[in-house]
Amino acid sequence: MELCSFLTLDSFITDPLTYDFMRKALLMSSLVAAVCGFLSSYLTLKGWALMGDAVSHSVMPGVVVAYALGLPFSLGAFIFGVGSVALIGFIKQKSRVKEDTVIGLVFTGFFALGIVLVSKIKSNIDLHSILFGSPLGISLSDVKQTIFISLLVVILLSIFRKDLMLYCFDPRHAKTVGINVVFLHYLLLTCLSLAAVVGLQSVGIILVVAMLITPGATAYLLTDKFDNMTVISVLSAIISSLIGIYVSFWFDLETGGSIVLAQTFIFLFAFLFAPRYGIFKLKKLFAGYK
């Protein structure tokens, strides 16, 4: 039956849409991808990939505690996400240990705490869905929360779009002309924590960092304009999510992994064939035929 469906592209796309959970998964994952993709341009330009990794792992105990206490999991995640960054800053300042080491040890510590908490708090927390994501099994309250957080992040990033760009590019100039860089720093951090929270539903805590850096890295190879970079980043993130979910549906694969793999393939494609910055510069290849 599966083989027959492959005969037409039409049914490849429309068949899954007959299932309610698939429609929901496709919509929510696209939304989450768009939010993470938007943020991704800033993180890759700021050089915060490792920070993204740290924050996204550190939210784990927050999610577990919030679930156990019946609070919105975004709240717990947010507190632990920002808390981890504060702790990283504190240890870095008060010790001679190098920053990347501090980041590594803090986020693994938080992550381990999360795993231990899950095993101790015997509730209905599904460790598997936190670690690997469960876009197909997303609940109604999760949907509401995801939409709310996504909108919040998109609004914040839209309002401070240019300030954040300046902050990533030249914080010293921003400070010199009276722009509040401390605020922008924490704004970006807040958005990062929130995006990690919504992203983990799609692809899980372990892989959410991919949602936060791969689309931005792909877009960075394809354009020299910041606005275009944001658009390309968002689009590539959404397309990857759709591809990942369809492929996981038809071939019965882990959904989160499929989404991230799709992102990785799009990045590799850009890496090889980007017009200006690819290994084989497409522009040059075509120019040969003119």
């Binding site: 330009l45 300042q93 309002i159 240019k162 300030d163 760009m165 300046l166 990533c168 590019f169 030249d170 010293r172 100039h173 921003a174 400070k175 010199t176 002309v177 009276g178 722009i179 960075y220 354009t223 020299d224 304009k225 910041f226 275009n228 970079m229």
Partner: protein, 254 residues
């Protein structure tokens, strides 16, 4: 001695100290500059030149001393767009996906609304600034595709667009072509005539003699400060560079 009127000074730094987590980068440094003065900031790497700039722009906090800009605090100078900082070419990410126009427009951000929507006047200021540095044909060029000299001019244009009255320039002549060097020299004379105050750091002793009315020699603190003709002596330079003879640094004087 007559009483000092702080309003007369564009920059008035009094006994400033800066330390990073207990490590002293600069101590007991003084500097007073009036409108129309160009001052060279000379010192070794790590002597505190960048720290001095950072203190004046408010990018780092001073642990002791006082800085007045036009008689006011650094904070109100920031609000008034008084100070522009032109970074070293190495100090910026040249691969950032941003065009000449966008960079120069950033000079206007401080006086725009929260969404940073350019008004007619902002667009005009950016156009004029880009014209003054002779980059009108590169408006939409990404900064990654510019030469070192063109990139330097882009950041100068940003300072011009900002309409700052104090310009801090970190190594303005390093890594630039002859054309840019000539253009920057001409701009310096124009800035001076407009009454702007310029503080520039440089490794090139010839530039100090050529442009700077005043020179500030530093090595964690002020070694010497005053009129270039009086202060810029081989002895002072030797002290600044930790005992190395100036002949060794920039050849015997011809």
């Amino acid at each position: 001695m007559e009483t000092v009127n702080y309003q007369n000074f564009r920059i008035d730094a009094e006994n400033i100290c800066v330390d990073y987590n207990g490590k002293v980068a600069l101590y007991d440094a003084n500097l007073r500059l009036k409108p129309g003065q160009i001052c060279g900031l000379v010192g070794m790497n790590g002597a505190g030149k960048t720290t001095f700039f950072n203190a004046l722009t408010g990018f780092v906090n001073i642990s002791k001393g006082k800085i007045r800009i036009n008689g006011e605090s650094v904070r109100s100078a920031q609000k008034d767009q008084t100070i522009a900082y032109v970074p070293q070419n190495e100090g910026i990410d040249s691969q950032f996906p941003i065009s000449v126009w966008d960079v120069v427009m950033m000079g206007r951000y401080g006086s725009m609304n929260i969404f940073r929507c350019p008004r007619e006047s902002d667009v005009q200021a950016v156009k004029d600034a880009i014209e003054r540095v002779d980059l009108t044909d590169q408006l939409s060029t990404p900064i990654g595709n510019l030469s070192g000299g063109q990139r330097k001019r882009t950041f100068l244009a940003r300072a011009i667009a900002q309409r700052a009255t104090i310009l801090l320039l970190d190594e303005p002549f390093s890594g630039v072509d002859i054309r840019t060097e000539k253009l920057i020299s001409e701009l310096f004379i124009q800035f001076k005539n407009e009454g702007k105050t310029i503080l520039l750091s440089t490794h090139d002793m010839i530039h100090v003699r050529e442009f700077c009315d005043l020179v500030l020699l530093i090595n964690k603190t002020v070694v010497a400060y005053g009129e270039t003709s009086e202060v810029f002596t081989p002895e002072n330079i030797t002290t600044t560079f930790g005992g190395i003879s100036p002949d060794f640094l920039f050849g015997p004087e011809s």
